[in-house]
Amino acid sequence: MSFMAVYLFYLYMIHTLFPENVRQPTELGADVMIIGTGIIIVSVLTRYKKWRWLWSEWLTTVDHKKIGVLYLISALAMLFRGGVDALMLRTNLALPNIQPIGANEYNEVFTTHGTIMIFFMAMPFIFALFNAVVPLMIGARDVAFPRLNAISYWLFAFGALLLNISFVLGGSPNAGWTAYAPFTERAFTPGVGENYYFMSLLIAGIGTTMTGINFLVTIIRMRAPGMTFMRMPLFVWTTLTTSALIIFAFPPLTVALALTLIDRLFQASFFTLGHGGMPMMYVNLFWLFGHPEVYIVVMPAFGIFSEVVATFSGKQLFGYTAMVLSVVAIMLFAYGTWVHHFFTMGAGPSVNVFFGLSTMLIAIPTGVKIFNWIFTMWGGRIRMTVAMLYQIAFIPTFAIGGATGVMFAVVPADYQLHNGYFLIAHFHNVLIGGTLFGLLSGMHYWWPKMFGFSLNERLGKLAFWLFFIGFWITFTPQYMLGFEGMTRRLYTYPLGYGWHMLNVISTLGAFTMGAGFVVLVYDIVWSLFKMPRDATGDPWNGRTLEWALPSPVPEYNFARIPVVTSRDMFWWMKRHHATIADQLKPNDIRELDLPKNSPVPFILGLGFFIFGFGMVFEWWLLAFLGLAIIIGSLIYTGFDYDEHKQVSADEILHIEQSLGRLQG
C-alpha cells in the first residue's frame, strides 16, 4: 500500500517536473551543463575552503560596491544564456526547413531570449553600474537604504533563477517576452511554463521597483555639500530619471502579470476569451510599462556615454543644460507613446495619429543629445580606448536605429512593417547599439574602479570589432527581410519566399557576435591574472569624483565627505593641484557608522523563490512555506535594530595611510 503511494508520488513528480516536452536532447544537454557547473562550483568552494568567505563577504553583504559586482557577474552570466538562445534561434533559421530545434523549443527559446535579455541582462547590468558608481559620484557613503538594496539584488537573482530552471523543470514559457493575453491563458498555453514567466517577473519586479526608489532617494537626499542638481554628472541625472521611470512604469506591469497569473491559477477571467474578459487591456497595461521600459534601459546608456565622451575627449560635456533638459523631456514623453506598439489593433486614425506624433516628438531631444555628444568631441583630444570605441560606434548605430524608429511612428508605414523583420532589426539596433554598447562602454570605463585593474585594451578592441561588425552583418539582412515580408517568431520557413540568402548572412553575423562575447570573457579572465594593479585610482584621467578615490574603493568610500564647488569636480581639483587628501587631515577623521552585513536579504530572496516555485506548480504547501519565510524575515528585519557597525578612526587612518592618501 505504502509502496503504491510512493510509486504514484514518483510518477506524479516525474510527469509534473519532466513532462514530454522537457525530455528532449537539447534540454537534457542543458540539464547536464547546469548540474556539471553546479558540481564544479561546489567542489572549488569546498577545495579552497571558501564557503565562509562566500557567505560573509558576498551573500550577506550590504555594501553597494559589492552588490554592484554581484549584479555585474549575474548580468554577464545572463548575457551568455540570452546569447546562446540567440544563436540557437539563428541556427534554426539559417536555412529553409532545417529544424535543429523543433517548433515548441523554438518558441521557448525566443521567449526566454527576450525575457532574459531585457529583464535579467539589461536591468541588472544597469543596476551594476548604478551601484558601482552613483554613490561615489555624488560623494555619498552608501545608498539611502543599504539593506533594501541587498534585498533588491536577491529578489532579482532568485527571480532569474526561477526563470532559468524552467528549461529543465516543467518546461519554459513559450508565448513571447510580451506574453499577450489571451494566448497566455490556460486554454492555449497549458503547463507550467507561463506560470514561471509571470512569477519570476513579479519577484524580480519587486526588486527593481525598490532599486528605483532607493536610487531616487539616494540622489535627492545624499549628495555631498555643494553637489547641487546642476553640478551632478550626467550619469547621475539619467539614474535619477531612470529611477523615476521605474517607479511609475513597473506598477502597470505588476498589475498585468498578477491578473494573468490569477486567471491561470485561480480561474478568474480578467483577460480570458468570454466571461467578460478583455485581452486588449493586457496589451495596454503591458505597453504602458513596456514603452517607459525602453527608456529605462537606454537612458543609463545615455548617461554613460556622456561621462565617457567627456573623459576621453579631455573636454567638458557640451551643452550640459540642454542634456539635462532633454533627459527630463524624454522621461516625461516616455509615458505618452505606448500605443505605437499596436497601431494595427484598431484604435482608429485619431488615436494613431496622436501617438505617432508623440513618438516623433521624442526624437527631438534624442537628436539634441547626439549633436551634443559630437560637439563634446569637437575641439577635444579623442583617445581611442575601448570605452570610447563603443561610444563612437554608438552614435551612427543609434542614429540609424532612431531613424528606423521614426519610420514606425509613420502610421501607414507601421501597418506594413509591424511584426516583421524590419521591426526585429529596429529594436535590436537600438537595444544593442544603444543599451548594450553603452553598458559595455561603461563596464570597460568603470572596471578599474570596481576591481582595481583595467581590462586589456587590445583584447577589448578585438571583442569590440567582432561585436560591431557582427552586429551589422546580423541586422542589415534583417532590415531587408522585413521588406521581403518575413514575420517574426517563425520557427522555420519554406524555400519559395527567397528569404534563405539573407538568413544565412544574418546567422553568420550572429556567430561573429558570439565570438565577440567569447573574446570578452577571455579578456576578463586574462586581465584578472595578468593586468597590473591600478595604483593611482585614476587610470583614464577622469573628471568626476569617483576617480578621486583609490581603486578598489574602501568600504566607507570617503574618509571625509568632500565639498563640491564645481561641475566635473575632480577635473577642477586636478587643474588647481588639489586632491581629496588635501581636504583630509588626520584630526578630521572620525569614527563612522557603516551598515552591517545581514542574512535577511538572502533568506528573503530564498523565501520568494520557494513561494514562486510552489505557485508555479500549484503546490500550495510549498507556497505557504515560502510565504512563511517571507513574512518571518520581514518581521525579523523590522525588529532588528542592530543595523550598524562602527569603524574606528584609527582603522580608517590606517587604511588611508596604507593607500598613501594622507597628508602630514
Partner: protein
C-alpha cells in the same frame, strides 16, 4: 600597459579584413540582387500598399539625410580631433556652450520631423476610410487555430485559406477571431490589422493588377502559426462572378458541424463552401457579443445584411 593579449590576437588583422569584406558584401547585397520580386513590400499590387510604400520611402529618405549628416560630422570630428602628437587643430577643453548652435539642432530635427509628420497625418486618415462613393466587396474574416475562414456575405459563400477578389474594386475585410490574436496581412495589397475575439476591425485593401498574392498571420498564436498561410487571387470582375457562381453550384454547404471541426487545433488545406451557417460570424466567437469593445468601429462602415 602590456602589449600582448594572448592567442586571440594572432589572426586579428586577417580576420578584420575578412569581416570588412563580408560586411561590404552585406551592404551591397540589395543593389546586387536588384530588389528582386521577393521584396514583396517593394512591389505593391494595389493603391493601399502603394501609398504605404511611398510614405515609407519618403520617411526613410528624409531620415537618411539627417543620419548621413550626423555620420559625416562624426567622421570629420574624429579626423580633426584625434589625440595624436602635434595635432594642429585647437584644443579647447573649456568650450561647452553655444546658444545658436544648440538652438539650431533643436530646430533642424523639428523641421525635418514636421516634414514627415504632415504626410503621415494625411495618409493615416486617408487610408482609414474607404474611397468616397465606392461599393466595396465585403469579406468577413475569422482567424482560427491555425487557419483562416472567409465568408462573402453578399455572395453567401465561404472559403478556407483562400480567397478570390475582383481587381479595381475596394475590398472591405471585417476581421475577427475565434482564437487568440492573429494579424491579417497580405503584404502586396497593404498593411496588416489584428484579429481579435469579440471585436470586428475593418481593413480595406484593393488590387489593381491581377495575380496571386500570399498572406499570413503576422502575430504569433501558437505552435503551428507559421502554417497560417492563405492566398489571395485577384481576377477580373467577370471571372470573379464566374468563380462565385461555380462555388455556389458545385461545392458543399458549410454546416455548424463543419465549422466546429474547423475550430479544432490543427492546420487544414484550402476549402470552398456554397453556404455557411449565418451564426458563424461573429456571434459564435466564443459565445459573446460585440458590445464593450475598447474602440468604436469606424462610423462609415457599411451595414451588413
Amino acid at each position: 600597459m602590456p602589449k600582448r593579449g594572448g592567442f586571440f590576437l594572432v589572426f586579428t588583422r586577417l580576420q578584420t579584413r575578412l569581416w570588412m569584406l563580408v560586411a561590404a558584401g552585406t551592404i551591397l547585397m540589395p543593389f546586387i540582387s536588384g530588389c528582386g520580386s521577393h521584396y514583396v513590400l517593394l512591389h505593391p499590387a494595389g493603391p493601399v500598399a502603394r501609398r504605404e510604400l511611398d510614405l515609407t520611402v519618403y520617411a526613410a529618405v528624409t531620415m537618411a539625410v539627417i543620419v548621413a549628416f550626423v555620420i559625416a560630422l562624426l567622421i570629420l570630428t574624429l579626423i580633426r580631433y584625434r589625440d595624436r602628437p602635434n595635432n594642429p587643430h585647437a584644443y579647447t577643453p573649456e568650450w561647452h556652450d553655444h546658444r545658436l548652435m544648440e538652438s539650431l539642432w533643436l530646430i533642424i530635427p523639428a523641421v525635418v520631423l514636421a516634414a514627415v509628420a504632415i504626410p503621415t497625418v494625411k495618409t493615416t486618415y486617408a487610408l482609414a476610410r474607404l474611397p468616397k462613393g465606392s461599393h466595396p466587396l465585403v469579406i468577413d474574416v475569422t482567424s482560427l487555430d491555425w487557419k483562416w475562414m472567409f465568408e462573402y456575405p453578399d455572395q453567401h459563400i465561404a472559403t478556407v485559406n483562400y480567397i478570390e477578389i475582383p481587381t479595381r474594386r475596394p475590398v472591405l475585410f471585417e476581421l475577427t477571431a475565434n482564437s487568440p490574436m492573429d494579424a491579417f496581412w497580405v503584404p502586396e495589397l497593404g498593411g496588416m490589422e489584428y484579429t481579435m475575439s469579440g471585436r470586428v476591425l475593418p481593413l480595406w485593401l484593393e488590387a489593381d493588377r491581377q495575380g496571386l498574392f500570399w498572406g499570413r498571420s503576422a502575430q504569433f498564436s501558437g505552435i503551428d502559426f507559421e502554417k497560417m498561410l492563405f492566398h489571395v487571387r485577384a481576377v477580373s470582375t467577370p471571372s470573379f462572378n464566374t468563380w462565385t457562381a461555380s462555388i455556389r453550384r458545385s461545392k458543399p454547404a458549410m454546416t455548424l458541424d463543419t465549422y466546429h471541426r474547423l475550430l479544432r487545433f490543427n492546420t487544414v488545406g484550402v476549402g470552398e463552401y456554397s453556404s455557411y451557417p449565418r451564426s458563424a460570424f461573429p456571434s459564435i466567437t466564443h459565445g459573446f457579443g460585440l458590445s464593450g469593445g475598447m474602440y468604436p468601429v469606424l462610423s462609415n462602415h457599411p451595414q451588413k445584411n
